[in-house]
Symmetry: D2
Subunit: 286 residues, 4 copies
């Protein structure tokens, strides 16, 4: 028998980078988690422990901090491209790589109604994400956001779904819809202001969620993705992942009370998990 190394990848995860850019009138703060994975000519390290081609994951970490010192950090997408170019150009043994950058949502504190030049408040679990997948032949750049909690208490029905012996849920016209949204989008060709696109997509996702007359999580997911594609020409594909964080009506009847659609149990599990990929179609016949 013989054994083949059919795939390999290695890198550094959770490189926690903080950069303070000390502008004359204010400080800019970036707090990013950086992860890098390299693929390439590393089989000798796996097969026989020959590490001469291996860039240590500690070296990758050092590179992140050093390049962050050298350059202005504009967007996660731009820094991911910087890292991609660095590793591919410097190390011939690297054939392809993945870079993931997650940016924490620090927001400037208001002091006496004015934004502070140097104090920030944490923005919750929500993260902005930049994803690069690059080889010597191709480059794919994605933006995204993760763990955006949104909830609506009106305009959400769930009815007329398939009925059989395992269905126990009744139709409902007015439920709570809550999710912890993940979105990833693929950029079109051309020059792009990633910060502006991110802000526009995030606001479109939130506003569409808020305003949609939902007939189901799938229905709202589609409306959100379609609205983004309609309003942001800078992207041509978006994936949305929406865990359905159910709020279940509490049955008050055993306690001689009526639940006027007001009292719910918040649950984390089990949870529905709804996803979809929407793509711009240039040809009317697709």
């Amino acid at each position: 028998m013989s054994v083949v190394l059919a795939g390999n990848s290695y890198g550094k995860s959770k490189v926690r980078l903080t950069k303070v850019s000390r502008k004359p009138d204010r400080h800019e703060l970036a707090e990013w988690d950086v992860a890098i994975q390299l693929q390439g000519d590393f089989a000798p390290a796996y097969i026989m422990g020959d590490n001469r081609q291996v860039i240590a994951t500690d070296t990758m970490k050092n590179t992140v901090y050093a390049l962050a010192a050298d350059l202005e950090l504009t967007s996660p997408e731009a820094f991911a491209r910087t890292l991609g170019a660095h590793f591919l150009s410097r190390y011939l043994q690297v054939e392809s790589l993945d870079v993931e950058i997650r940016s924490a949502r620090w927001q400037r504190v208001d002091v006496s109604g004015e934004p502070s030049p140097h104090a920030f408040i944490g923005g919750g679990p929500e993260e902005r994400v930049g994803l690069l997948s690059q080889s010597r032949e191709r480059l794919s750049l994605q933006g995204g956001l993760d763990r955006l909690l949104i909830l609506k208490t009106a305009d959400s029905a769930w009815r007329d779904f398939h009925r059989d012996e395992f269905r126990a849920l009744p139709d409902v016209d007015d439920r709570i819809l809550a999710t912890e949204l993940t979105a990833n989008w693929r950029y079109s060709e051309g020059a792009i202001d990633h910060d502006a696109v991110f802000a526009a997509i995030r606001q479109t996702l939130i506003e569409t969620f808020a305003g949609h007359k939902s007939l189901g999580a799938q229905h709202t997911l589609h409306a959100m993705g379609a609205a983004v594609l309609e309003q942001c020409s800078a992207i041509d594909e978006i994936e949305l992942i929406m865990p359905n964080r159910h709020r279940i009506p509490f049955d008050l009847r055993p306690f001689q009370r009526e639940n006027r659609n007001e009292i719910f149990i918040a649950t984390d599990e089990p949870h529905g998990l709804i996803s979809g990929i929407l793509r711009r179609s240039s040809a009317p016949h697709e």
Copy 2:
């Protein structure tokens, strides 16, 4: 040998209550985690399994949902008092109890610049807290907040601390100060608008943190607590707990670069943990 049951307490934790109050022009949303602990005449259940006096923890949970349906939810503090009165008045076997209510920070979504009547965005890990400890003789009511992330990039020194063989840290005049703040306060006697007091304390804590010329986390903690006591007559004691979420300068010298106080490693552990209790002193000689 004989064994004594020297203390006992039991109850229900993580009762996850969602209430939607459907006002004509908008919905109000409360999402609270409720925990109740009862102490009293329950030794027979422990010692011999005689459960006749025991209110099941499931019954406590049902009570939370039923009372939440009966009443308008104004503040965590008020609902904690409602629960306290209910359990003490209804069950003679209850001698004292603790109620803890943690409120998630949902914020109204802006749609086209206007607050949505029914859509909300999650406010991060930060929670508002109401704490009641009550017996048939006494009542202690506390408010608080937990997991408020704040960070400042200026006006924070840490120097001239004790020097001995185990000290390795240099003096530093300009570091990042970051914490995940917990605050608990005790209310004075009299009628109190808990929502207004909470908002005022939270803003005072944040603004004082932002504006303080810090000589250390202890120093800033004291300034924050003192500012709250000075500005909020409705409370007479406050405890602040400030884990020091260190941002450590990354040493770029091995890579032939200078760190101009810009590049840091964000860390969660180990972490400093600083706490203090400040109290209003009515007498000048205290």
Copy 3:
């Protein structure tokens, strides 16, 4: 412009199933997390809120519990196949599905040296995993384990890796190697005793890790995968994912002490992340 729904999938996650099988002499305990994702003819629900083809995720949950009641639970793999066959045969609108079952590692308690018939102790974060991906044309069944913590204090070197300006790590001949192992394997054709194969693979992974003269995490990963393929003819491919949970020597020199390779800082982040896929090669020329 038009928008295309280029992909969709939905289902239920974290269905937490407990089954007690009450045998005459002992109880068997299974605690599984089940996740199901369906793909198929669900575009109308996304595009226009037409839910008639949609099997509610609550219905999926009910199905898990009902089928678990009907059948003896032998292995995660077997129950995943049962669920796959159920959804594909019953619902013509389902074109393909994924089932993931994670099994907690409860172990029987010893009482006076004998295994208890009905008491169990939790086995840590480690989970056994069964993965099914099935369509009307193909079926892929995988076994695996996740979050197996293993650590060795000897026979682990890390040296002679690529040297350049960003390398700061020295060569080291005797470090701690620690990981939280994830393994996934693909079964060969034919009848398979999944429980026996799981036990054999797990033990082979652990023993190979313990005994290997490691020249790097990659090297040990390869040895572990190769040992599994050599000893278990029931599988023909295995993927191993090994985060490198670094234990960093603490520098005692500032404190006038020598670290005789004894004192380390345990860290979770940043961490190396090493992965590889090994495959049985039937043909010498592959």
Copy 4:
């Protein structure tokens, strides 16, 4: 108005210490989380930023590693005492301190049926705990364990508890009892082998849980605590905290099936939380 600093404490948490003791025939592994809190003459640091008396939390961390290098680590309790003596004797400004040491449950790997000299497998979330609270006048030393998951499928009833309008639970004679146990005990005076006492208490807790004819979680908690006090003369008080990790029978009747007490939903929340303190009574009249 004047403000008083009514209490203060500060220290370092999550000091993650790994020590490998390289014995001739085998390696011993300790992985401990150490937390230290100091109280004393630190008001000037709080009030005016005068840090001269403040031992930096980084210095505390260095001390942990340095003393761990100097000494053989026997038990968490013994090392907590070492740290307590160090800080109180070296720093006159320290009036009292708390030390908490949490020890991970690494277990030796079996290789070909023999325990490995140098390879270990993680033992789950369970931790052994040592707690010291010491001032210049008094010393309190506690041992404990945390997050021990135990579950039994027989000999557990829950019936005849208080009945009123908010009770919805039926009596049940045969339920699953599951908990994530926390135990803390106070040592008697005199020389104590902390490792042996820990092992005896842990086994007594598990065996009593397994064998008890439970009429409720309170009842089993008392039996467990009493058994420990009866069998371990080295301790004179024990506190047990038992969250009730409910396994709720799944109602199969809507699906034309009977649940023969076999199929349950595992839940984390809400959860009962039962605690009690048992103490040895030397005098029959106490």
